[in-house]
Symmetry: C2
Subunit: 409 residues, 2 copies
């Protein structure tokens, strides 16, 4: 008999029928002897509807009022799910963030969870009741409602699992697990049974949008076993473990990619200390997030400094870069928006040499030119021209044997 | 400089445009130097939408979950109105019932307000901020959300006005005041500048659905001056006063009517003590509300006992009445659904004789037969055949000179 925190996303509770389906799933898990604590997002579309109302009034609405507004979405879904559970004879009780209470700081729209009172939830479990908790929301020290930012319901689920010392936090969504890559790009992409937290972090941050990145960090920090499963298809999903070794014994877990990047190069900057800060400082001040940063060893007294930003920030970043280039007496700024980033991720590469060269060879064999390279312990990212994205993903997927289980080298 | 509690109903905040219009009205009142505390209902249609969702899951949803669900409606409207106020440079802050806090008992769906903390609201007023409070909702001693029943936002407004010792509680709605009768029946119906609480209670309970009856009782109990005004048309509205004398010096304030009644007569029941209880007891146990009750002096050893119920309850009431009639060995049950109740209301009739006879004479002159009569200190109600409703209302409106100010008798 395990204590499970089950989190259901907006699509999973997007209609009365789906809410009833979720109630059935919970009832089934409970009849197998598990104690269940449920976390729910707002019904799909509801948050957008509320955002639209707010923006019709004010394009930059007051953050406190925004949280007051948006948190009503989960209030509806928890009440409906509790009703549906009771309808199938499962005693249930819904709780708002403030009723649990889930204590956060007062950073409206992007609050951080500080503490969770588990008394009510444990009392419910002890009484064989299913508590249904509103995800995404909490309460600040003054009693104001706060929200955790979009996708914050995953974080709520993980935080509750950590506070309750649950055996597993199960994130129910509309995909049945984490895949080796996006099946829309490579139909032979395969669902992973297990993946390590570090791999998941790299995959998530690189664009495999299965889980909110913060919830994965949270789960890793508190060692909460996390499982991603589908609400609509039965199956084991993917377990995200905090074990050191990738159980599948594969070098590479998956291939992530990101179509939203653009590249800027400040060419011919003086090769001296402080240059990186001189360039990235003003970019950060302009509220532009930088992803990859590459600087090669200088060939002469100058060097080229390259970084990538979100494509939406491209024009603003170029303006800032031009200004910096002039100040630094650099040769100029080169930029490109027709690029994508493709990344190999796997804890196996820590202990194996030759992964990078195998990657570059495979890409070269298809005539794909690599424009930038950046590596971490468990990830190799390359920037290539956007038209080669699909070809690159499929080539690497095959080269590292991801379509079949654990046959890579 | 007065302290005003302004309550805006669902139609008044039914769209973004209307919310902005309400914000303008509040800003204008504030710029005239008034301190304003606002109470808001859910956007029109929202409560019905939520009810429909709940009933799709369970025709008799859990009362606690129902309140958790329904209270989200006001949460949306208060946040949007606070945003709209800030947009027009009025500092504002929204509060849920539990944030104020508005303390209630734990009778979900029909909670009663026990106490209101005024600290936050008074602090806002002192800081020239406008607090925007969710109507209809409160919090019970265990921190559960409760609701006051449909139309409870009026009660919230009055209760807040009482707690804050406000100078006036202004109920903004889609009518511009209380009329001498329904203008759809008598186009010459006239808006009353003032009306007493007792008259308003009789008018409200008789079907002039301008204000929720409980809020009027509440206002009377705490001597809160109550004003009904239109959100959409400028004007003074109708002030409901707790002064003894009707200021307009009219005998009759208005004519109410009710089309939803049906009549049952248990004929030939023994004329002995306990008969009324023997008949109404089982009716009450069947959860049927009784409106008028008439029993005449017995001519022989038996009498006829007549009462009216809501037309929706007619069939059930007939079944119960048949059973009772058999038990009491009564002659039988007669019933009619083609009836309406028409009532004259006015504090003036307390000190004036001849009102009833004038009423009956006027009706008789039009050939309208009276089936039942029931009177109170400030009201005379008659039951007539439904087809005569409009004629009766117009006849009485004219007979008592209601179309012109204070020229009756």
């Amino acid at each position: 008999m395990a204590l499970l925190v089950q989190k259901y996303g907006g699509t999973s509770v997007g209609s009365v029928e789906r809410i009833e389906h979720v109630a059935d799933k919970i009832a089934a898990a409970r009849s197998r002897g598990h104690r269940i604590v449920v976390v729910v997002s707002a019904m799909a579309g509801e948050t957008d509807r509320l955002l639209k109302l707010a923006r019709a009034i004010d394009l930059r609405p007051d953050p406190r009022e925004m949280d007051q507004l948006l948190s009503s979405g989960e209030q509806v879904s928890i009440a409906l799910l509790a009703m549906a559970l009771r309808k199938c004879d499962v005693p249930a009780r819904s709780y708002l963030g403030g009723q649990v209470a889930i204590h956060t700081d007062d950073a409206f729209n992007k609050a951080r969870i500080q503490a969770i009172d588990t008394e009510r939830l444990l009392a419910d479990c002890a009484a064989a009741r299913v508590p249904v908790v509103a995800g995404f929301q909490g309460i600040d020290p003054d009693g104001n409602i706060t929200t955790l930012g979009r996708g914050g319901s995953d974080t709520s689920g993980v935080a509750l699992a950590a506070a309750l010392h649950a055996d597993e936090c199960q994130i129910y969504t509309d995909v049945d697990g984490v895949y080796t890559t996006d099946p829309r790009v490579e139909p032979r992409a395969r669902r992973l049974d297990r993946i390590t937290f570090e791999e998941m972090l790299e995959l998530a941050s690189l664009g495999s949008k299965v889980l909110q990145i913060r919830s994965v960090e949270f789960a890793g920090k508190y060692k909460v076993p996390l499982r991603v499963l589908s609400t609509f298809v039965e199956g084991p999903g993917t377990l995200i473990t905090f074990e050191e070794e990738s159980v599948e014994d594969a070098l590479i877990s998956g291939i992530a990619f990101n179509r939203d990047e653009s590249q800027l190069t400040v060419a011919g900057v003086p090769d001296r200390p402080g240059i990186a800060a001189a360039i990235l400082g003003p970019i950060g001040e302009a509220n532009i997030e930088v992803d990859m940063i590459v600087q090669n060893v200088a060939a002469d007294s100058t060097t080229d400094f390259t970084f990538t930003v979100h494509r939406n920030d491209h024009e603003r970043a170029c303006e800032v870069a031009q200004r910096i280039a002039a100040e630094l007496r650099a040769k100029g700024v080169r930029s490109a928006t027709d690029i994508v980033k493709v990344s190999l991720v796997g804890v196996g590469m820590r202990s194996h040499a030759g992964i990078a060269s195998k990657m570059f060879t495979a890409l070269a064999a298809e005539g794909i030119n690599i424009r930038m390279i950046s590596t971490s312990e468990i990830k190799i990212s390359v920037v290539i021209q956007d038209k080669y994205l699909e070809l690159a993903v499929r080539t690497l997927h095959k080269a590292f044997g991801l379509e079949a289980a654990s046959t890579s080298t």
